[in-house]
Amino acid sequence: MKHPSEARTRTLLIVLLATLPSTLVHAAEDFLDLNLREVLDLDITTASRKPQSVSQAAAAVYVITAEDIRRSPARTLPDLLRTVPGLQVASITTSTWAISARGLNGRNANKLQVLIDGRSVYSPLFGGVYWDAQDTALADIERIEVVRGPGGTLWGANAFHGVINIITRSAASSQGTQLSLSGGDEEKFAATLKHGGQIGDDAHYRFYVKGFDRDASRLASTGASARDGWRAGAAGARLDFGSEESSAYTLQGDYYYGEAGEPSVLNLLRPPYRLYQPTETHYEGASVLGRWQRQVGESDSFTLQGFVDFTRRDWTAHTEEKRVTWDLDFQYHLRSLPRNDLIIGIGMRQSDDSYAAATRHIPADVLQFVQGQSGGGVQRLFSLFAQDDISLVPDDLTLTLGAKVEHLPETGSEISPNARLLWTPAGSWSIWGAVSRAVRTPTRVDLRGKVVAAVEPPASYVISQPEVLRGFNQIISPLPIVLQQGSGRVIAERVVSFEAGVKHRFSETLGVDVSAFRNEYDRLRTAQLVPPLCQPGGGTAPACLLASPPGSVQYLIENSPVGNRTDGYGQGVELALDWMPVGPLRLQGALTVFKSLTEADYAAGEFETDRDSGTPRTQWSLTALWNAGRNTDLTLALRQVDKTSPAIGIEVDGYTELDARLAWRPRQNLELALHGRNLLHGRHQEYASELLDIALTSVERSVFGQVSFKF
């Protein structure tokens, strides 16, 4: 049987040769179709690469530019985010990551809002992001803005610890055709084809198609393949028409499909109780987004945006989820009041979902992770916000006051106010402070349904598979015990965040950005240990065991009610450095120092469901960008992450790793690049799923080549 990648390559070669232009004409670029902001953002000399001027935002913002993405050794969105100060990115399998800002990370970390072109991509089931489904042509990304700290007003719900805003280029600025192909050991094969064109004077479009096949990683326990190979494809298109001076319209659509292996640990009520068996997740989705921006009078404008998002995810042994999300947002920007810059907005989101057991290729009696969610439901979220930038001293001191109200019919309304002060005494200094309150609205699982965390085997049983995690082995029981959470209800979690920061440009070649924060938490989610029940028969252990006929009780069930009884704090300092010691060399450094302590009422048997110890105390990265010659550049990214304990009983050592990219442009529109990732070690461990549903894997060293050309 022919290796599937051969057939793929052949097809691509044919497509390529068919689309190569027969003439030798190369169209000159002009910028007449960009909008005003884009023209002001253009570098006059692309070779110079001077650092950005000091940001005017009263927040801890870090921007990954299109040029940073082009130079980066990373080829996935999560890997691109690794060098952002304050952001933690940890690989769990080839296709899953734990990503959060400022603590409380985990596979289902729910403290971060992630937006792609204004479309919110977190899942209302757990509140986390399925990073495998978030994909786009990297060359289409204009910038990624990472704001640490409660996003508060402007963005959608759940900007608890921060917001990641991925903004793609306008169609007008992604004209032409570009094809890139890569191949290597871990990144076995990847291809992206994108094209942008024009219709008449005022309309531009672009589309892309991409696909990849990534190799499996290795099990930490045995070194065998973790069977988590990942194959996926995505396509998208965008149409922009109208003009920025009167009315501008955007229509965007995306589709994705993927299959990702997972080295799963399954739960059973019979031996072996915890079974290691690789499974496969199939996911698919599509979305359509429309946006209308219009100037009103001389100085005002409004934006109306709506999107529909379909997803289907067959997550073996967890749940099979189908979901349709509708969202409509309206924002009005009022600039006509002197010294005030006011934005007010209103939004509504509705999510219809349905769930079923996901039993593909596993024993029929495996306990599903998500229980009690059969059938479906509808969830609605309403929000209202206002934010005013008040110029107290023109050009020097700006006060921002904002508030957002979020209403979830099941739990009521929550108000998130924030106040920020920005002082810019000179062009090279920017000093800011902020106080904000944010909430994390309850997810589907918080409100309805239960979760089976694990089955603990009876004390006498010896687990033979080395891949199975033994995190819960503090529980000693003569019978298997099912650990289930979910009776009771979780309402909104709260945080009050105190932040301050300084940005300073020492010279044309050195800039520093420091932020410090303290988060005070209230009402974080808890679960509570209660006396287990005997099944069948009922009654609480140990009394029910003694009272029942021997052998009649088959297992125990620990039915932990959930609530909001954790509080605590998180605090830290984040530093970003941008330095050009000599002309062709640029250094970007990031340092994060962090500590959190959240506690429930342990005496009452309560425990927090988000782990403090899953976030490292320190992490840093140093990226060197060297323009070795006119047509060659080298990027070296060194990064270090301190040790963590991502799940009960699991300790992961700290690690240091190096990624590199060497690129050569023999022609103006052809680039050959060699990428190396995780070069310092053959393999290393980064994280574990806090649900203990995945065997521990390690990330391997990876080398691959990429060829890109433009037409």
Binding site: T23, V39, I44, K188, L670, V703
Partner: protein
């Protein structure tokens, strides 16, 4: 794109290197030769785009532009710049088709009938031309004025490898022109 799942523990796939190598050679042989750009072309293109964008945020008084006539874009420039500015010909400004007019020099006589006058490469701006522009509602755009020299209504300034704008609002108002605040937000306003 449904690919059957199979358990592979693939190392550097030897089967991939040959096709990829062939692909690279094919591309190198067939790829269009790079059109070397004259030095400074990119900067001229950015300036041209900026003047064009600026014109889209300005409103001229009804009387200044003939009802069904073209929008007259005048400029004093060298050959490479004129070539770049030619791209604006035919585009729409103030809902009218743009007609480019290249002047050898700017004075009260030659600028008559212009709606926009772009002086490039630091061509000298005389007070005679300023008076004529204010009277004739001509938007006066200049490149990087020298210290102390006349600066016109809108200046294109390069700083820190980026272009930026400066606007002399009083002069703009005297010429009965109106600039959208969207543009003023992004420019340095000099009173």
């Amino acid at each position: 794109m449904r690919i059957p799942f199979h358990n592979t523990v693939a190392r550097m796939p030897g089967r991939m290197t040959a096709p990829l190598a062939a692909l690279t050679l094919a591309v190198l042989a067939l790829a269009p030769l790079a059109m070397a750009q004259a030095p400074g072309t990119r900067e001229r293109q950015i300036r041209a785009a900026l003047v064009y964008k600026v014109s889209r945020f300005v409103t001229w008084p009804e009387a200044a532009i003939p009802a069904r006539g073209p929008f007259t874009f005048c400029h004093v420039s060298d050959d490479p710049t004129a070539e770049v500015l030619a791209g604006i010909e035919g585009r729409s400004i103030q809902n009218r088709r743009t007609r480019m007019r290249r002047l050898d020099a700017a004075d009260a006589r030659t600028v008559a009938g212009c709606n926009l006058l772009y002086l490039t490469g630091r061509s000298a701006l005389t007070s005679e031309v300023i008076t004529a522009s204010v009277a004739g509602a001509i938007l006066l755009v200049v490149d990087d004025p020298r210290e102390g020299a006349e600066a016109g209504m809108v200046q294109l300034v390069s700083h820190d490898n980026r272009m930026s704008l400066a606007v002399d609002l009083a002069l703009v108002r005297n010429a009965r022109l109106r600039i959208d605040s969207t543009l003023l937000q992004l420019a340095e306003v000099r009173q």
